[in-house]
């Protein structure tokens, strides 16, 4: 998070300052890419499309840092949904089989145990959760969005988001204990 300097950085970026825009990019891009790795197999492409749309809409954006992040992750989710539809149209695989393929496979416990606690291993572990749980964890914890913003993005109530996040964290702790990731 940029913090107090966000307003100045945003204003400079809206005025065409490339350095300020790069600051915004470097601050958000890691969380964005990790979130997209959880919800779509085409994370890099979707991230690029997301930033292109952000560049287009940046001059008209108004709001603080949390609003900026919420706006950006909303765009990313829409682009991921579009990519998923496009992928399903291109594929000749039946829908049921596609859903099975899209469902993240549980990583091998021994494989995970061999890895250190890295971002990639945690992302792989989160992908084993149900899609809704994984997405809410990423938006709440990684993107740092408030429950209300997450609720707007995923189409739930803030209370449902809070309950789902708690369940997802408990389930993640279980998985991590079994996989030995946290040891």
């Amino acid at each position: 998070m940029i913090g107090a300097a966000f307003s100045v950085t945003l204003t400079s970026a809206q005025g065409g300052d490339e350095t300020a825009f790069a600051c915004l990019f470097r601050d958000v891009q890691p969380a964005l890419l990790r979130y997209l790795h959880v919800i779509t197999p085409e994370a890099d492409d979707v991230a690029g499309e997301t930033w292109l749309q952000v560049v287009k809409g940046l001059p008209g954006f108004r709001g603080g840092e949390e609003a900026f992040r919420a706006w950006l992750f909303t765009i990313a989710r829409h682009r991921a949904v579009d990519a998923g539809r496009s992928r399903s149209r291109r594929s000749d695989v039946p829908l049921a089989a596609t859903e099975t393929l899209d469902q993240p496979m549980a990583p091998d416990a021994a494989e995970l145990a061999l890895e250190a606690i890295s971002t990639r291993s945690v992302v792989a572990l989160i992908k084993t959760l149900p899609r809704e749980h994984a997405e809410i964890i990423m938006l709440r914890v990684v993107a740092g969005l408030e429950a209300a913003d997450v609720a707007r993005i995923v189409g739930k109530t803030p209370g449902a988001v809070r309950v789902t996040a708690h369940r997802a964290l408990r389930r993640l702790a279980e998985l991590a204990e079994r996989a030995g990731v946290t040891h």
Partner: protein, 257 residues
């Protein structure tokens, strides 16, 4: 992992404050269960700084940003084309405005010319039909020539090389046939070119050629009602004394008289 509150287990709801602290990235109290600390450490790693490769798309995104931030958001060639378009736009509108002005002036001039009755016959007739301008001379009712001055102002009369017969100065209110003052048709065809012979007498006995329709109820007798052997008022009476409006005399050389 003893003491970790899993869902469905007794006491599962008591971990909610700790879970909220993990989500908010707050530091857990030291007496929190170890699994909570492990979970917090794992999620902190997930929200950590960028790893190698995660910022690989920065160059492309910055290029897109630069393109969007440039004045036109397009290449220099396209900017020049846009400038040419901007320059060409006012010039085109000026040309349109000038054309509109010319058309408007020409239209108003034509209407004005039609109302002062100086247009050629067919065009004057068209103007009479379209804009209620005075009818062309050939379509007008024969008017009594009230004097030399009035006759001299008539375009056709200006072409005449013959003396203009004098008429009564007073207008003739519906003269009785055979007694009133006939109004000779001194008007020549509007479309007659200089040098063209007149095919009929414009004043005197005999058939009078009237190319245009004769108006009704105009108070003037039609030429066909003129009695034979009439004479123009103010001229020596008798057929031999009629003014020599020889129709075969070329009507040239009288302009500017």
């Amino acid at each position: 992992m003893p003491g970790f509150p899993f869902p469905g287990r007794p006491g599962g709801e008591h971990d909610e404050p700790l879970l909220d602290m993990i989500i908010a990235r707050h530091v857990l109290p030291p007496d929190a269960p170890q699994p909570m600390h492990d979970l917090a450490r794992m999620l902190a790693a997930l929200a950590g700084p960028a790893e190698p490769g995660e910022l690989a798309g920065e160059a492309a995104v910055r290029a897109a940003f630069n393109r969007a931030s440039s004045p036109a958001g397009i290449s220099a060639t396209a900017r020049h084309a846009g400038r040419r378009r901007r320059v060409r736009g006012p010039a085109r509108s000026r040309a349109r405005l000038a054309t509109a002005l010319v058309v408007a002036v020409a239209g108003l001039g034509s209407v004005f010319a039609a109302y002062i009755d100086v247009l050629p016959g067919p065009i004057q007739q068209l103007a009479h039909v379209t804009v209620a301008a005075p009818p062309p001379p050939s379509a007008k009712p024969p008017r009594s020539v009230t004097g030399r001055t009035a006759a001299a102002t008539r375009p056709a009369d200006r072409h005449s090389s013959q003396p203009v017969p004098r008429q009564d100065a007073s207008p003739s209110p519906a003269p009785v046939a055979g007694q009133g003052t006939p109004t000779p048709n001194l008007k020549l065809g509007a479309s007659r070119s200089p040098g063209q012979r007149v095919t009929g007498p414009s004043c005197g006995p005999g058939p009078v050629r009237s190319p245009g329709p004769q108006p009704k109820a105009s108070g003037h007798p039609s030429p066909s009602s003129w009695p034979p052997g009439y004479h123009c008022t103010g001229l020596p009476s008798g057929p031999s004394a009629l003014p020599t409006l020889n129709p075969y005399v070329p009507l040239t050389g009288t302009r500017g008289r």
